[in-house]
């Protein structure tokens, strides 16, 4: 069971995100449809290009897992209702961890 993912309109800028299967690392799709772990490098898609990008990602579900659309601004900033979740997913927990207080 995963959280409910909002449906995005065709014209809403978006990227494709997933997890790298071997490591579980979060990955995003670049404009050239290769995967990156750097949020600065993501591709921004709309309309049919976005659907094509997601469809292509779904053909790679050996090396990546569970690709889905993530809302972004035209400039590639995390946006929309899932901003907090996706920001945490991108940047890690909002609290320091693995340290002795």
């Amino acid at each position: 069971m995963t959280s409910v993912r909002p449906k995005l309109k065709p014209e809403t800028p978006k990227t494709v995100t997933a997890w790298e299967t071997a490591t579980g690392n979060v990955v995003w799709l670049r404009a050239d449809q290769t995967w990156t772990q750097d949020l600065e490098e993501i591709g921004v898609f709309t309309g049919e290009a976005a659907e094509a990008a997601l469809a292509a990602a779904k053909t790679q579900e050996g090396s990546i897992t569970d690709p889905y659309f993530m809302e972004v601004t035209a400039d590639g900033e995390v946006a929309g209702r899932e901003t907090l979740r996706e920001s945490i997913r991108a940047n890690g927990p909002t609290v320091p961890y693995g340290v002795i207080i």
Partner: protein, 552 residues
């Protein structure tokens, strides 16, 4: 302490080999996530926000030094140097790579541990009183029966695909520290005319439909308990709903059927069991399991310890810690200690690899090689001589493990929340930290007395918010974090579900609201001896509602 026989060892080893093959096929693309997901879940592997999470079973929270050292090594070698203790007395690793998990499971098998049945619609880790075998207020040690139930429920073919997950808890103490009334089955050990047996509670649970369990049988003798459990499970397996996962837990069946009719169904199923079906649990087998949990070789000691008294007089911080974090032991001259994993502004329930190593060392050196994980996300050394306590304390203090707050307001149950969890709607950890800061003055905190705050980041209630004296539930309002507060919940022998006191509050409003609740309590309590929960039960939630919402 449980032990594997050669069959257990082989079963676990075979399971590791099987999962290694499944992971290899997943990594090669031979099988995809839809096919792999049920396989990984059967081995405790979740996919969370940032990474895979591996949940490792700790049977009824029972560890020894070797097992704790292994958990420390796994944290260091395969994760990011820490692990998270859970409300099922298990441990979770948050960053382990899928490609490494077969190796992790192989390492766990070396110390008789695994991740089997830590997920999925099966019988999960049996939980118990973390002071079992040590506390003065138990009629016997419940762990042998936890172990017998664990052996019965592990790989039980009939109960591998239940309508939904299934949780069993066992206690033998009058004061219920195992929250048995919010479990699918809660067992309270009793003695009647010299016979050991179980008071059986069924259909408790939390999640989106919190329900306190119904007592379906006052006394089932120990010789019949596994057959009786089978009867309950069969009724659930047959009549439990599979059409709607939100109505699939046994609590819904018990509620919709009615406790009386449910009990009648169980009794009928039990009566219909053929003699050949009965689990002929031989006394020799019961005795063999009990022998694993024989009391340690305690020395004859006086009730008091001069060394302990001198140390308290010389070191006020130690005296303060000893006042709060000790629990009375049945053996004179010994005590049980709670190692709080709730430092102020720390991560509730987390222990670093080095802290785990320290706890292993202390258990081995001073505590008869016995360690427990508590459902409140702390660690217990159940058997420590008062004479050794100051030495143990100083080592704990040096490792950041001597927070003096057991069962006080800063000792909260906190789920991982949106900082880690794929299901969460809101963060839990920062809210807990901010509340802790409000109550970080020890004098203020101790004046408040025992008070359980439980925080969940979503309705699934992993943080047990329904049964917190103060419960806090994170909800999502159009992408923003809000928190619903409830009062009056409790998980003990007087178990109750908390009452929501009003509209949800914004993240930044929560610490102030909790302070208002606490200060309202301090104003209206009859004396310093009236605990928060007792005061709430006496006056109801209205004075607290007024204090928080009056200005609106």
């Amino acid at each position: 302490m449980y032990r594997y026989d050669e069959f257990d060892a082989k079963i676990v080893k075979d399971r590791v080999d099987q999962f290694r093959g499944q992971v290899e096929r997943r990594l090669s693309g031979e099988i995809l996530e839809d096919e792999f997901k049920p396989l990984r879940l059967q081995n405790g592997v979740y996919l969370q926000l940032h990474a895979y999470m591996l949940r490792v079973a700790i049977p009824y929270g029972q560890l020894n030094a070797a097992r704790m050292r292994k958990l420390s090594k796994i944290a260091r070698d395969y994760d990011r140097g820490y692990g998270h203790m859970t409300t099922r007395q298990n441990i979770q690793y948050n960053w382990v790579a899928l490609k490494d998990i077969p190796d992790v499971l192989e390492e766990l098998a070396e110390v008789e541990m695994h991740a089997i049945q830590t997920s999925g619609n099966c019988i999960r880790n049996v939980t118990s009183d973390h002071f079992a075998g040590a506390t003065k207020d138990e009629i016997m040690d419940p762990r042998p029966w936890c172990e017998i139930i664990r052996q019965w429920s592990t790989f039980h073919p009939e109960f591998a695909f239940l309508p939904r997950k299934f949780k069993i808890a066992v206690t033998a103490a009058e004061h219920d520290r195992a929250a048995i009334r919010v479990h699918d089955i809660g067992l309270h050990m009793r003695q009647r005319d010299g016979v050991v047996g179980f008071e059986v509670h069924v259909g408790g649970g939390q999640g989106r439909t919190p329900i306190i369990a119904a007592m379906v049988n006052e006394f089932v003798p120990e010789s019949e308990i596994l057959d009786y459990l089978e009867a309950i499970m069969r009724v659930y397996n047959r009549f439990g709903r599979r059409d709607n996962k939100y109505k699939a837990r046994i609590k819904i069946l018990v509620t919709e059927t009615g406790p009386e009719e449910f009990t009648r169904l169980v009794e009928a199923e039990y009566a219909a069991q053929q003699a050949s079906e009965k689990i002929a649990l031989l006394q020799a087998e019961i005795d063999r399991i009990h022998a694993y949990f024989a009391p340690p070789a305690f020395e004859d000691k006086a009730e008091t310890s001069d060394a302990f008294e001198r140390a308290k007089a010389a070191d006020p911080a130690f005296a303060n810690w000893a006042k709060i974090n000790l629990h009375p032991h049945k053996q004179p001259g010994y005590t049980s200690i709670t190692i709080s994993l709730k430092p102020i502004a720390g991560l509730a329930g987390d222990a670093t690899d080095s802290q785990m190593a320290v706890m292993a060392h202390l258990a081995e050196t001073y505590a008869f090689d016995d360690i427990r994980v508590t459902h409140a996300q702390n660690v217990v050394l159940p058997h420590v001589a008062l004479d050794d306590l100051y030495t143990v304390y100083r080592e704990l203090d040096a490792a950041g493990l001597a927070t003096a707050n057991e069962s006080l307001i800063t000792d909260m149950i906190v789920c991982p929340g949106l900082d880690y969890c794929n299901l969460a709607n809101a963060r839990s950890i920062p809210v807990g930290q901010e509340i802790q800061k409000v109550f970080s003055d020890p004098a203020y905190e101790q004046d408040i007395g025992k008070l359980h705050i439980n925080i969940s980041g979503c309705i699934n209630a992993c943080g047990h918010h329904h049964v917190g004296h103060i419960g806090i539930l994170g909800v999502d309002r159009k992408g923003e974090e809000y928190y619903q507060i409830s009062l009056g919940g409790r998980a003990d022998e007087k178990a109750a579900v908390g009452q929501i006191i009003g509209k949800a509050l914004r993240h930044e409003e929560v610490p102030g609201a909790v302070k208002t609740i606490v200060d309202t309590y301090r104003d209206l309590r009859t004396s310093a001896d009236e605990k928060f929960i007792d005061a709430v039960e006496r006056v109801g939630v209205e004075p607290f509602q007024e204090a928080i919402y009056a200005s609106e």
